[in-house]
Symmetry: C2
Subunit: 259 residues, 2 copies
């Protein structure tokens, strides 16, 4: 397929390369500022960098929108495509209906459920792609596209996708932040961060095998008040971490009590 | 070495089997109630289950205490050993000095930095063991013991070990809880939990390679207020999760602002 990509951020960066590796042709890359589209099209021999959202003269049956959620409505309103073009966005949190503004297009969602950074390679075959479309034919087309770059493609409606995105914020964004806090605490004691890596690996391996609530360990679930008090005392120079510690402890205890 | 184990909970369970596999002999297992010591000694051919903390007639050069932190002071006060016995506790948060109460013993700390559940096997060779002792000879003895069951043994003083334990609560206990919340949110939308596994694996792999603060993604760090508001709205039936979401979002934003 000939595909135009709107957005050259973290998602667009990896998606474009996966599409190319999957045998598709990325014919154009749009970004608001010049540098990202120039940088990405250097990796895509047949793609031209474009600075306009009027794509009526671009050779593309599919247009994928990989722009920040907050920009999606404005981009959809400004986008112009040939009649019958398949336009899909890649957002976990935005509804399919946000693309209703694109005149003459068939619309869908093509959401790769993964965290992307330009600096780290991603095996796209392992990335679940969640799909939605206004009609069955469009859905089948998106399914074929997804299956050409990933082992896992599933139709998920907007409501469920939103809930999945919320769950992903807890599992990914918030978890990453806690790992960052833990690394900061090690740094403050001049301890090497590799010391905690086996523990982190085991925590995740265990949480994949069993429901995490059933394997919760640590001072909170044991109601070990001496340790809890001491930890809060140790965090006195970080009042915001103290509050986080207190709230997470309460939440663990409330969850255990409800089991 | 001949080793007596005080405590047959999650830590004692795995430690006893690692020591036996490392060529040592566990000669006795104490637990407060009968069932845990009976269960564990069935796996240790030369160990007797014991119900008294008077170990003066037990054949053991080393006594390892794997009891809950909250019980450690009372167990140390009640423990009686032959003069010169090496007594070490396995706690991340308790000071070496808590063992000063054990009359006639040389004392140390033997802290395996890992999360243990009886239901899940652990490769002890990958578990860092953090050591501390009142004198160099005792430290060397603990080092030899640790190196016979793990690839990673390091001397860490009480203060640094406490900070490490605090960091581990964030990296392990709190992270596990967030993964539990995420699984609960998937269940509420009847979504299969395997959908999030590639994302969780990638999040952790990335956090091991780079400082997590530098690879933070998601609506909080992007200040994507529409998504943040919607997520808070979606959590309205879980006010405690709403509060957690709000506080973690604030913490991510404050951290990013301080970078």
């Amino acid at each position: 397929m000939n595909i135009a990509l709107i957005g050259a951020g973290n998602v667009g960066w990896h998606l474009a390369q996966a599409l190319q590796a999957g045998g598709h042709t990325v014919t154009a890359v749009y970004s608001r500022t010049a540098a990202p589209r120039e940088e990405l099209t250097r990796l895509l021999p047949q793609a031209q960098p474009i600075s306009s959202l009027n794509l009526q003269s671009i050779n593309a049956e599919v247009v994928l929108l990989a722009v920040p959620d907050a920009a999606l409505a404005a981009v959809a309103a400004a986008l112009q495509v040939k009649p019958g073009t398949l336009v899909a966005h890649t957002s976990g949190s935005q509804p399919l209906a946000i693309l209703a503004a694109v005149a003459g297009a068939r619309t869908g969602v093509f959401y790769p459920l993964q965290t992307f950074s330009k600096t780290k390679a991603v095996d796209f075959w392992q990335v679940p792609i969640l799909l939605e479309a206004t009609d069955d034919e469009t859905l089948q087309q998106l399914q074929a596209l997804a299956q050409s770059i990933s082992n896992s493609a599933e139709a998920v409606a907007s409501g469920a996708r939103k809930q999945l995105h919320l769950a992903a914020v807890f599992a990914c964004n918030f978890t990453n932040h806690l790992l960052g806090i833990s690394r900061q605490l090690l740094q403050e004691a001049s301890l090497p961060h590799h010391l905690l890596q086996p523990l982190i690996r085991e925590t995740i391996a265990k949480a994949m095998q069993q429901h995490p609530y059933t394997v919760q360990t640590g001072p909170a679930v044991r109601h070990d008040q001496n340790v809890l008090d001491e930890h809060l005392y140790m965090l006195q120079r970080h009042p915001e971490l103290q509050e986080l510690y207190r709230l997470l402890t309460q939440s663990i205890q409330a969850t255990a009590a409800a089991q």
